[in-house]
Symmetry: C2
Subunit: 429 residues, 2 copies
């Protein structure tokens, strides 16, 4: 196709849209050279142009009507950087229907409606690319689809949410309480006023659902992702974990073996020597294990105007290359069927358990016996005298089914000698 330029429309001029515009204009010469022709931002739609913004768009490019972008026959590629499903999904489907290639940074939309969107794109023969939807600048989606695709991936473990990683890092480095650090993160703009999507692991669940679909080549209904947040993590647990050679991180985990998959987001003790253990602050990283590549890890900023804009710009260039060569859909979605996910009760995990018990002889033995009766085997125990009549016991268990662990803990919780089961945190190796 003989084209003198590629025209891009942007839907949603917030943080990521601004970053994308900045990159494509500031580095226009480099983008043109690497693409083959200039990539020109032709129109930008946002419902509110009064909001203060760091990066301005010339008034001539502005519109408040997304359909002015979607229906513009001059526009080749639409970048959706609105976020959420409504109205982003409608706009994206309309853009596909109008024959545009689409680039999006929208994790929620892709996690919930990725199958529908990619099917529509395949039917229409256009690209939908979404590198910016998972871990900002980190090229994890392209790595899975275009570099490691000959591997059978057995494991993806990610630190995919910067807000929670920032909070856990601060709690670890400064020995402070969750609520206090959360408040500070909100003041610094690292956490939202309503932080639940981050701290309850909803954001991370969206991301691991997207990565699992690509890595395992199956559709992944979001509700199959088990999810637990970080609000119960305490400095005491972080301190015990450190004594035992672990750090506590919010992990997004996807594993597959023999056609059965595990999908879960939860805080976990991770060995201090694990490559993910030193990923601190707002940084994200994804650790992959495949049958040929063995261990691979990709690390970078998971959010921010320019980092996420960098990923979106990379996708825009890729779509532009496909348009120039007449090959949109060159690397299609190849998902088949739905991932066979093991219910959490049946998953085998290791756990760390902390409890307050009566400080008298025989207590540890009584509790150990109940663990044993459920086949949950103990790896190590630390017992420390606490204040007054209570002692604190920290258990590290060998791998066992969640169901057995749950039944054991229910029985233990009913014992008179047990004051409180303070924490139950999984361990990943």
């Amino acid at each position: 196709m003989d084209r003198s330029e590629i025209k891009l429309g942007i839907l949603g001029y917030g943080v990521v849209g601004g970053g994308l515009y900045h990159i494509l204009t500031t580095n226009a010469d480099q983008v043109a050279r690497r693409t083959g022709v200039p990539v020109v931002v032709a129109k930008v739609a946002d419902i509110d142009w009064e909001r203060p913004r760091k990066i301005q768009v010339p008034p001539a490019l502005r519109t408040t009507d997304a359909y002015e972008v979607i229906n513009d026959p001059q526009i080749d590629i639409v970048a959706e950087t609105i976020g959420g499903t409504d109205p982003a999904l409608e706009f994206v489907l309309a853009a596909i229907e109008a024959g545009k290639s689409v680039v999006t940074s929208n994790k929620e939309m892709m996690a919930k409606h990725g199958g529908e969107i990619l099917a529509a794109a395949a039917a229409k023969g256009v690209d939908v690319q979404f590198e910016g939807s998972v871990c900002g600048t980190i090229p994890i989606i392209r790595a899975l689809k275009e570099s490691l695709e000959a591997n059978r991936i057995s494991q993806i473990i990610g630190i995919v949410n910067g807000t929670t990683n920032y909070i856990l890092t601060k709690m670890t480095q400064e020995g402070r309480e969750f609520a206090q650090v959360l408040q500070e993160a909100q003041q610094l703009g690292y956490a939202e006023a309503d932080p639940s999507a981050d701290i309850e692991g909803i954001d991370a669940a969206n991301k691991i659902a997207i990565l699992a679909a690509i890595a395992f080549g199956s559709h992944v209904p979001l509700e199959l992702v088990y999810r637990e947040g970080i609000s119960k993590i305490t400095p005491q647990d972080i301190s015990y974990a450190r004594q035992m050679g672990y750090v506590i991180k919010l992990l997004a985990i996807a594993k597959q073996a023999d056609g059965k998959a595990e999908l879960r987001v939860h805080p976990a003790l991770l060995p201090a020597a694990h490559p993910l253990a030193s990923v601190n602050g707002v940084f994200n990283a994804v650790f992959i294990r495949g049958d040929a590549c063995d261990e691979v890890m990709l690390y970078g900023r998971g959010a921010g105007a320019l980092p996420t804009g960098s990923a979106v710009a990379g996708d825009v260039i890729d779509c532009a290359r496909n348009i120039l060569h007449g090959t949109p859909g060159r690397v299609p979605c190849v998902c088949e069927g739905t991932l066979d996910v093991v219910p959490m009760d049946e998953v085998a995990t290791r756990v760390y358990v902390r409890m307050k018990v009566a400080d008298k002889p025989g207590v540890l033995g009584n509790i150990a016996t109940i663990f044993g009766s459920q086949g949950v085997s103990i790896q190590s125990v630390i017992q420390e005298s606490s204040s007054g009549d209570l002692a604190e016991i920290v258990w590290l268990m060998h791998k066992g089914r969640e169901r057995n662990l749950r039944l054991a803990l229910e029985a233990i919780g009913h014992l008179d000698i047990v004051e409180e089961i303070t924490s139950v945190i999984r361990v990943e190796d």
Copy 2:
């Protein structure tokens, strides 16, 4: 193009060739699904089929004549996994001339002749892909060409040689001497009988030349890479570095600012908190800084049959997609001109200097004065009484030109009070 399969020929059936064959046959169903059609290994050339190998190729596929692969009209893609330039370069140019796309894991050939090879490929309209030539399984080349390509990259710092990283890791963890650990690495097969390509940084120089060309979009003559190996590193230096909060790594560095570049391979003190500092053993990692992506790091195995085979297989699938869509050359080489590399004497670095001096008052001041006279400014000094009449001084300098540092050290080396300048190691932050 309507094709029922893509045919691959392999030149050189050693470690990487074997890994590639294993992956493409073991994961043939997945490769077919992701490519669109099966990718079939049609012929494998090697001059010696008597060598013992872990992974066997059916006798019907074997040939001892590379030109049986190169000239086979049925073969679409040629994977060159011989290594070295002779005869690999001849074969690769012949394969391009025969209209094949080429995939190679050959860093030496790409570093020395990449420009010529890629120009030939462009003229012929075929792909040459070489992900396996740098850092084995790590998708660093695709990341630079197809994910981060909208960035202006200012810095690439890599641990790109597994042998030297293994040796330095062992020296660090066990406090042992270089020669002793090298010998052990040779016994374990991590170092070659002639280890000079690794320990003198030749291998790392090849790799950083390739990465710099892609990141900066310029041709990079290999001789512009300054190079220094690890054989002078001692457990004493590692120990002092640790006291000051650093680890010692062999780094491959490419930096660019205002059109001027630095290209160098040398051991360096790296802050313990740097993402590269915890990359240990035979693992490789590449740390990138770009104007939009900020910091990105990619980590994985830099060598081995399956890890490198994984990278080569990813490239084979990419070439296959291009052949199926009729778009070889979709992501071409865009290098222009030759990188403007600053001579090492003009580069500003920080250094760590260790010396043995007479143990008497005034010595430290004398030496500090000489540093000062060359404008080399001191950040910190540790002086320790050594055995007998000698003391040991360890200096950490602020950033200064290599030329000034060299002149200062020459003058200091001539002082009667200086017994020996034991070590001079650069510091990267």
